[in-house]
């Protein structure tokens, strides 16, 4: 008897977690079905990663929700998951519901072939955003991505233009192997080799402010000399700054240590505005505009010339940033 109760509870607990994890956030499919009657509206099914994942994802989701509205001629349904198999299930459901477009930010690069073939057979057009997948280009209309390497290059070039008398860099990396880490690290590595910059420490803080703080603390404790912190996201830059403050090392415009971050969080841009940091590179979460353009082109029967669309991304300098930039580009 007891066992039965336990197993029933276990099952309900699992169902509850699943409901919290993904099901709860999936918007009812009925809406999509009714949408067909309205005529005119373009039905889109959007599969994204969990908006809680990061500030980037939150901004990305918000941007998509603002673009794909009834006013703009869309009838959108959303599904969120960080897991590939759940995303694939959601994709199959959208295809069955007969959406016109499937917008996809895949959790994982592989495993999408068969479901995209199903989409093709059903006449559903696929647009990838933010993340690429390992599948035949024929299977999707366009892929809208950030060029992480270019982001890194923009930042490294900016650093070069600062013409510091010497370059001793602490390089805080993201989770090893992630696209953002690879692109942003590679650009710095190449530039450092070309220019003969000294990389004092190169470690992964796994996007984590606390770890970054410990790594920089460790460099300070060891008495290492450095004058640049190249953090591959804002959180890690913040952690590094916390360690510097503790050791009374000045940072920012015209100070001892140059602080560089990525992602353009609003609070980070405010640090730039206050000249506590020097540089912040954008990783553009505002992809809805680009997706909309692609869809409008296809609707008009135009050809998409370039399948891979790289978004424009800025780098902000503390000496030139304005309040307007903070409001527009901060996420």
């Amino acid at each position: 008897m007891k066992r039965k109760i336990v197993s029933v509870l276990l099952c309900s607990a699992m169902v509850a977690t699943m409901a919290m994890g993904c099901g709860g956030k999936e918007e009812p499919a009925e809406e999509a079905k009714d949408g067909g009657k309205d005529g005119g509206l373009i039905k889109v099914g959007i599969i994204n990663n969990d908006p809680n994942e990061s500030g980037f994802r939150t901004a990305n989701d918000k941007d998509l929700k603002e673009m794909f509205t009834k006013e703009n001629g869309y009838d959108a349904s959303f599904a969120y998951s960080l897991k590939n198999d759940e995303q694939i299930t959601a994709a199959q459901k959208f295809i069955q519901d007969g959406v016109d477009y499937l917008l996809l930010s895949a959790a994982d690069t592989s495993g999408w072939d068969s479901v995209l073939k199903d989409a093709q057979d059903a006449g559903t057009r696929v647009v990838l955003f933010d993340r690429t997948i390992d599948a035949d280009e024929e299977l999707y209309e366009a892929s809208i991505v950030s060029d992480m390497k270019k982001e890194g290059e923009t930042a490294a070039t900016w650093l070069k233009d600062q013409e510091l008398s010497e370059y001793n860099i602490i390089h805080l990396q993201g989770v090893m192997g992630s696209a953002a880490q690879k692109g942003r690290s590679e650009a710095l590595d190449v530039m450092a080799k070309e220019e003969g910059w000294n990389i004092v420490t190169q470690q992964t803080a796994e996007w984590n402010a606390e770890k970054a703080q410990q790594i920089v603390q460790s460099a300070i404790d060891a008495g290492q000399k450095f004058n640049v912190i190249y953090a591959e996201n804002d959180d890690m830059a913040k952690g590094a700054v916390a360690a510097l403050d503790k050791a009374n090392m000045s940072h920012g415009v015209g100070k001892d240590v140059v602080i560089m971050g990525f992602d353009c969080n609003k609070w980070a841009l405010e640090e730039l505005l206050a000249q506590n940091w020097n540089y912040d590179g954008q990783c553009n979460p505002f992809q809805a505009k680009y997706i909309d353009e692609v869809i409008q082109k296809i609707e008009k029967g135009e050809e998409i010339e370039e399948k891979t669309i790289v978004m424009e991304e800025k780098g902000f300098d503390a000496t030139t940033i304005t309040q307007e930039d903070v409001d527009t580009y901060g996420i």
């Binding site: 919290m20 994942e53 470690q203 992964t204 402010a209 606390e210 404790d221 913040k238």
Partner: protein
């Protein structure tokens, strides 16, 4: 000296002490400057001590506080709580929510820190109570029961603040994870000392320790002896909840902000490891609190050592794993028996706890 080692050998605390001594010796031999501690002034103009040892004390304290609660949970329930990282996120989020009110970037604090902390205590203890209820009342295995909050906790934390990222500009809030003006020792050390003192007093002057061990060793016989095993297990989870709230305060204070997806990430594994390094049986029963706390500092010592030697990022976790395996294997009962046997051959050994 020999007398001391003989006395120690049978004791549980021997293991983390040996691990700590080995790590310390390694650092002493490779680079004695590891132990250099200097007095500096921080950007706020206050004197602060800095150096690797201080860093270890500073960051190890969070883990030590969690190890206290985790030891009790392990001893009473014979399982571990894997949701502590996620509940730290919840506690931290609650603190910021109360301090910030509805505005995510307030100029001034909307409530006293103590109020925010107490609310966070309630929230974290409620999470602990939820876990405890599932484990104690419904007899679900702790790892499965806590899997629920492990999965959902960070989403809940994000939801508490409407998925915004509050930033507190008030500098006085940084005290709990930084330094009290004028005192050069990091505040987390003091917080840890208070927690240890309270735990020590509770273990000495109440039956908490005895009852917990009794329930962990044999729940049915402890019930026959008039204890309420369900309540003791429940209590252990609630106490862990309290520890989680304290760590949450330190964590958010360090950066005056929060990142829901990475704050206190994987800290549950370190906390469980601290308990294991302390030589406590993860299947419950007898426990040694001091050994667990020491175990926590051993882990931080290891982490800081790896940072110091600038181990290649990609290989960092591999190094850690190797050391951890060595430590855990050497503390396994089978190996310890072998060692004890060896020692017996050299010199008859009277005292040995199986």
């Amino acid at each position: 000296m020999k007398n001391i080692t003989n006395k120690m050998r049978g004791k549980q605390i021997f293991i983390p002490i040996v691990a700590l001594v080995l790590l310390a010796l390694f650092n002493l031999i490779v680079d004695p400057s590891f132990y250099k501690v200097t007095m500096d002034v921080n950007s706020a103009g206050n004197p602060v001590l800095s150096g690797y040892l201080i860093t270890i004390l500073d960051y190890g304290s969070e883990l030590a506080i969690l190890a206290i609660g985790m030891t009790l949970v392990t001893a009473a329930s014979g399982g571990q709580d894997i949701s502590v990282g996620a509940t730290v996120a919840i506690a931290g989020s609650v603190i910021l929510r109360v301090l910030c009110g509805t505005n995510s970037r307030p100029e001034t604090l909307q409530a006293p820190v103590i109020v925010a902390f107490l609310v966070a205590c309630l929230a974290a203890m409620a999470c602990g109570a939820f876990n405890g209820l599932l484990v104690a009342k419904f007899n679900i295995q702790p790892m499965i029961a806590t899997l629920i909050l492990f999965t959902a906790g960070r989403s809940i934390a994000a939801w508490i603040n409407n998925n915004e990222l509050p930033v507190i500009s008030e500098e006085s809030f940084g005290v709990y994870g930084g330094f009290i003006p004028g005192i050069p020792i990091p505040t987390p050390v003091f917080i840890m000392l208070i927690c240890v003192l309270v735990t020590g007093l509770a273990l000495k002057y109440t039956n908490l320790g005895l009852y917990t061990q009794a329930v962990g060793i044999n729940a049915s016989s402890s019930r026959l002896n008039g204890l309420n095993p369900a309540f003791i297990k429940f209590l252990a989870f609630v106490i862990l909840g309290l520890c989680v709230a304290v760590v949450g305060l330190i964590k958010v204070s360090r950066l005056s902000s929060i990142n829901y997806s990475v704050i206190a990430k994987d800290i549950e594994m370190d906390a469980i490891l601290a308990v294991a390094l302390g030589g406590n049986a993860l299947s419950g029963g007898k426990f040694n609190m001091a050994a667990s706390i020491l175990g926590a500092y051993v882990i931080q010592f290891l982490t800081t050592t790896l940072y110091k030697f600038n181990v290649d990022s990609a290989a960092l976790s591999a190094y850690k794993a190797v050391v951890v395996i060595a430590l855990v294997v050497s503390s396994a009962p089978v190996v310890r028996k072998k060692f004890a046997g060896l020692a017996k051959k050299l010199k008859p050994q009277a005292k040995e706890v199986a």
